[in-house]
């Protein structure tokens, strides 16, 4: 498989757009399960109550990869996530998540030969403000 060709063909274009309603009780549960103690993340009555900065890492689009992508990622695993917080996310917000492939490369490691697909999801709120960017490294073993 020619990784450079794969990247040239598939990287860059938005292939999925999906909306999420932000639920206050889920914000609290997520924060508490992660050991959060600050009231602005755990107490819905706090004046500044909001999602923890990494909250958007939990969201997935309707598809992980573009339709027709030639690699079956069923056996892929999560290699890491990078979340860039841009603005607070509040309960009741409606987020739009737009997905695209940001990068594709191959390397070898403890699992042998692997293809890395960096899936980027950009989140805007109902005011069209950018609130978060999540890069997710999906790893598929080669061979």
């Amino acid at each position: 498989m020619d990784i450079a060709e794969l990247k040239q063909k598939w990287a860059g274009q938005t292939f999925d757009t999906v909306s999420f309603e932000v639920d206050g009780s889920e914000l609290v549960e997520f924060a508490l399960a992660c050991g959060e103690t600050l009231p602005r993340y755990t107490d819905r009555s706090d004046d500044d109550f909001q999602a923890v900065p990494s909250y958007t890492s939990r969201y997935h689009g309707r598809r992980q990869l573009p339709e027709g992508f030639p690699v079956d990622m069923e056996q892929s695993f999560d290699g890491g996530k990078c979340v860039e917080w841009q603005a607070p996310i509040r309960p009741g917000d409606t987020l739009i998540g737009r997905s695209r492939i940001h990068d594709i490369f191959e390397k070898t490691g403890r699992s042998g030969g692997m293809m890395f697909i960096v899936h980027r999801m950009e989140f805007t709120n109902q005011r069209d403000e950018l609130v978060s960017i999540v890069d997710w490294k999906m790893i598929q073993k080669l061979g």
Partner: protein, 216 residues
């Protein structure tokens, strides 16, 4: 002289450390190394120039590469234009035999790293496919190794009489200098380092209990 011979900066796809921060860390935490070598994944970093940092911090900072072969990962010291024309650094699954031979021919040296890694290190490949001639030095202390991986590397070095090096394999600032190499000769640049490694005048050391130890 003590150098960390295996480290990564943000130039590597999974590196998160800026070189200046490595230098600051070494200075602030009194990490007892005289310098380090940046062994970026699947490339040689032409663009970066660390001479200013060397002067500022009194450290030796050299550049090398970590390439990926059919016998596991290999550190290549002494990268030059001839060697870069000899094989594609960005390719995975390079022939170890080719990397060793061409490094030798071009005045560099190739050193298999973390050979004890389960299934993918050189030890595992040797077991299933036999040895490749031309290895002189291997990395027997890698800061990212788990379980008995360093022990396996050491056993291989012992059995084959390979010289040994150590390196932190750091990808974040605070991991620099976890393991290193003691060099018997003064090293002023990459040429000196290649000469020392080819002669086997090196030893792998790890920082434990506030001192350098050389596991036998």
């Amino acid at each position: 002289m003590i150098l960390d011979l295996h480290s990564h900066s943000i130039v590597s796809d999974d590196g998160r450390a800026k070189v200046e921060n490595y230098c600051q860390w070494i200075e602030r935490k009194d990490v007892p190394i005289d310098g380090f070598v940046l062994t970026e994944h699947r490339q040689f970093d032409d663009a970066s120039d660390y001479r200013g940092l060397e002067d500022q911090f009194g450290l030796l900072i050299l550049k090398a590469s970590e390439v990926e072969t059919d016998y596991g990962h290999v550190l290549v010291f002494g990268v030059n234009d001839d060697l870069r024309a000899a094989f594609e650094f960005g390719q995975i699954g390079l022939s170890l035999e080719t990397v060793l031979r061409e490094s030798e021919r071009c005045g560099a040296i190739a050193v298999p790293c973390h050979p004890g890694r389960t299934r993918v290190g050189m030890c595992a490949h040797i077991e299933s496919r036999g040895e490749v001639p031309g290895v002189r030095v291997i990395e027997t202390l890698n800061g990212g190794s788990r379980g008995n991986e360093n022990d396996m590397a050491r056993a291989l070095a012992e059995r084959k009489g390979y010289a040994r090096i150590g390196g932190s394999d750091s990808h974040i600032v605070s991991h620099i200098g976890r393991c290193a190499t003691r060099l018997q000769d003064p090293i002023r640049g990459m040429e000196d380092l290649v000469t020392a490694l080819r002669a086997g005048r090196c030893d792998a050391i790890a920082w434990e209990d506030e001192q350098w130890i050389s596991p036998s």
